[in-house]
Symmetry: D2
């Protein structure tokens, strides 16, 4: 059995890790830390876990975590980078669900996250944990930087087009909508039900921290810098991300004329062996409820009125494929387990 530790077990990604790991055949949850709730039974805070998780929160110190084979960080940004070196030095694998190791450029990281990076040397070593792009590197990694929720939905949607140079990478638009659990489990006015229920809004249009992460991933895929406009929105539901992506297809003059059917075939081909990316038939509109609670990404493509604008729709559950589920997919790869172990669950519909 793999002994897993979770640092920051009281947030939504932490409790989602617990929900999935509790039923994972190859993992024992050995440690769940919470500075504020140390000593409290985990299932006293989360009655949904009664009967499945029987330990108490402990303090987040290295000695306690040292008995783990793998440590998940489900912490606010800036915590994992303070503990990573000591854990790695003891041979413990790290899967970081925060943003600490996602950006390859430490200075850019500092600009967006408003603090100095504590261990810039480790950044190069970290593998960006998007299995559909980095599967082989993940298997060899010691430190995995799990993608953000928006970046997962947007990259999986754009990748087949970008990798094949079929759209103008200088004019990408990602209009993305998220459920409120993406804002985390924090006592804040802005995410009260009275503030977010029955209402819809955009936010951070001037610049959201997931913008450089998406741009980095698409730049890597395009092998050239990309121009991306990214507008996140808050939608009155708890779980789910829906990315609506717009790209300009090159014209035939570029020697790249492609029919919608060709593009559909390309998408199906690209994700043929991906068990968690599902390309829907032409004409479909994915619905976030159909991936709620599951690790799936469902994608469909459209070409309205046969014009040059291609519209890609990509949905995930922000807490699963956008966080805890993808982290466990990474863990499975890291430990040579079946990639889907513990993740074969169906969406909760309705």
């Amino acid at each position: 059995m793999i002994r897993a530790g979770i640092v920051g077990g009281t947030g939504y990604t932490g409790v989602e890790l617990l929900r999935i790991l509790a039923l994972h055949a190859e993992v024992e949850v050995a440690v769940v830390t919470s500075r504020a709730d140390a000593g409290l039974k985990v299932d006293a805070l989360y009655p949904s876990l009664r009967g499945y998780i029987d330990i108490a929160f402990s303090s987040p110190d290295i000695e306690t975590l040292a008995h783990c084979d793998v440590v998940f960080f489900a912490t606010p940004n800036g915590t994992a980078m303070l503990m990573a070196e000591q854990l790695l030095a003891r041979g413990i694998k790290i899967i970081d669900l925060s943003a600490d190791f996602r950006l390859k450029d430490a200075q850019e990281w500092s600009r967006w996250y408003g603090m100095e990076h504590a261990c810039p040397d480790l950044i190069a070593e970290a593998v960006y944990g998007l299995p559909e792009v980095n599967r082989e590197s993940i298997k060899q990694a010691n430190l995995i930087a799990c993608p953000g929720c928006y970046p997962t939905a947007v990259q999986l949607g754009f990748l087949p087009l970008i990798e094949n140079g079929l759209i103008d990478a200088n004019h990408l638009i990602a209009d993305v909508k998220s459920g409120v659990s993406g804002a985390g489990r924090k006592a804040e006015l802005a995410t009260l039900m009275s503030e977010t229920g029955e209402s819809f809004k955009a936010y951070a249009v001037a610049g959201h921290r997931h913008l450089p992460e998406i741009a980095q991933g698409l730049t890597f895929a395009a092998k050239q810098p990309v121009g991306l406009t990214f507008v996140p929105h808050l939608t009155p539901m708890i779980r789910g991300i829906h990315a609506t992506l717009y790209g300009q297809l090159f014209s035939a003059a570029h020697g790249k004329e492609t029919s919608l059917e060709d593009l559909q075939a390309l998408y199906e081909q690209r994700y043929r062996h991906e068990m968690f990316v599902d390309v829907l038939p032409l004409g479909s509109h994915p619905d976030t409820r159909n991936v709620r609670g599951s690790n799936n990404c469902q994608i469909s493509i459209h070409q309205p009125q046969g014009k040059r604008v291609l519209v890609v729709l990509s949905v995930i559950d922000n807490l699963v494929k956008g966080a805890a589920g993808q982290a466990i997919q990474n863990m499975n790869l890291l430990f040579g387990l079946k990639e889907s172990e513990g993740l074969k669950t169906l969406a909760l519909y309705p």
Copy 2:
């Protein structure tokens, strides 16, 4: 592998059976019927099942169902009773999620359901599928009448008190709140999101069909007729039932003075070996989200201001413990499987 058929696979209880059975280690879903959608791939209607259910809907005829070991009826009331005899004659087990065989009195059934019963002789043979009451009978049954959603939450909440004669059975009150999926997947004005969202209402106060079913179960437990006021409400959420139950404790003069701690111990004792009924610690308030998607019932008891009114709170997911999950729990018992097979899932929180 047990070959299972589902009659009426397009409603919410039907698709919930599919969600759970798709991952059940001992069951193969062989037939899913829908008169209206025969020929259509199941996962075309329910994209949440893609990759897990690969058959098409078929017509609901006996010959098709004859190859099954067990047939679930997830149909409107009045359908199962028309097909039951023929299936039983072929040695097929029936688990009926509709109300056709729940009431032991065929005439009372007719009054509440507005039609003649098609096979009153089978009623006596049917076993009421509440494992916490009828486990041994269920194991021997050929025809199981699964309890309704309200009756499951209310009976599990009241049973320890009623079985031990601790409250006045003549003055029971059940104030129960349900999510809208309980109304089924039907094109109706009343359950549009614009009609039910952001609003709360009672309905059918004059008399709801689940009243005689609850009364029958409690009468059986009390070994005397009971007086029950049952008020169902519609609450603006999709899944979940919350029963708030009120009973008058007998006074010491009746020689039955019982402290709240004694009652708590009684509840814990009653459900000690029930893996799907969870008595929360004193002082708790169960929350429907903590059982959403799981087969659990969570219960807590309160005695406000130490007075004679005992308040019992009981929550279930109406589609799982209140329908499909309980049906599969019954199937497991019927076929000698582990009772929890396929049902060890955690609630989706948040």
Copy 3:
């Protein structure tokens, strides 16, 4: 024009006072205080008020408020009682939406609210602002204690029965459901959308602060102590309270046999001249959406199966008839205006 001040203008009852007063023909909102946001334009915090409220928040000091004719307290409990004497001394009318002056027994107030009362002498002077009971006293008052939201819905529902001695006042049950705005605009985990959306729960079953307030009102109406069990619930919507009330009708042996039609006539008679209490026809089920945003209370009564338990359904908008609307109804009475001035609005449906 009446010059109105609002102390505590950033909570939901404060902004609701602004929404209504902005269109009130006889009132000018002169002062809105907020310690934390002093100096900020009110409509910068609440863009819904743009074009209607053009002042900034000011600090809550007596001198600023001294120019007002009436001051509304939309503050947490414990604030109004600290400022009341000084304002009254200057001849300013006070309408307190908090609980400071609701209970007539200062010691009981201290037990439930966990602090000493700062001016117990004023309690006797305060008039409980339920116009349907105290209209004439309100007109003469200097200090009005506006009822809580739950107490408004419950008292209006029970009053006709209690005042006429038709039910057993020792065994009253109030099972009440509230939208989350009742919890106020505070940064708290418990009322995040991720915590309250798609879920239903009871809370404070052991004892809620509105219990003694309801009991006091019903005791006054019954002219005898009452026995009340009050269970509040949180329902996943923003606005609305639905009270489901249970009372035992006296039997004919008590010489009080009353038919449901008689009771209906009694309710209609009791509220015949109340413009904000609407008794629905027999057979109706009021729906909170039908009073959302309006100052109305809609009530219906039921006698399930013709038994002795009478069920009363009573709905209000917790922020209007349960708070700001009722406060303005009181103000209208206090200043000799038309009682409905500023309050003739229809519910927002759907």
Copy 4:
């Protein structure tokens, strides 16, 4: 008093007309028709109107409507065009909330709406009822075609840019999100709460009927054909539309370099005298709740990372500024009343 008739009074736009007209100082609602519910009291179907609307539904025949000064059509598409000529012949003004007279090209109308137009001759006479564009024509009109909900939000957002030729009219993107009330009050599976709650989806990406309407309006403003990609989405709330609009600013080489501050000034200037269009300060994100129940459109503009893509956010209540409120604004213009008569209401927050 203006005598108003409403044809199709049982849908959401019909009842919203009633909600607003009931309090309109210059209007008496004389007739409300419903073929299915003729004879039924209006407030029996809509208890939210009790005390304000005291008539019954009548059959939709010309004789009954002939006593009106103005008739609103809140009917499905295809009804108004059958009755318009007869009503106009009697000198009755028509305000059509359906799509029958929105498109100037009868053949295009037929393609999108799937039926022949019954009175193509009247199309030229109809005035498109967007007061911010056609105010003077509206005042003289006999037949007003009220804009659709999506077209209102999108046009008001794009107009200042398009009218001034500041963005490339060939590459417009409108990513728009609507609450479910936009789908109307129809018994349909797709808009059940269990189907739309807690989920988000795009729909009709291949082509939505509001596309030609938006394109027609923008073409008129641009004085050249426009290229528009329009993707509508369904968001889990009842009321509200949020348009996120993307346009490519021309570069300085085109002699049109414009700073964001200049653009802000342009927007403020464009709508300076519009009482129902509110340009928020730079940096704002409009929220649909802040216009819920009001006739306002709130707009903000952003230029992410200072690049050439301008992002415009535009929100309305689909049933008010997107339907009934705008219709009444048109009526006010038509009859020479104050344009805001009956429409000075504040949004219901929270």
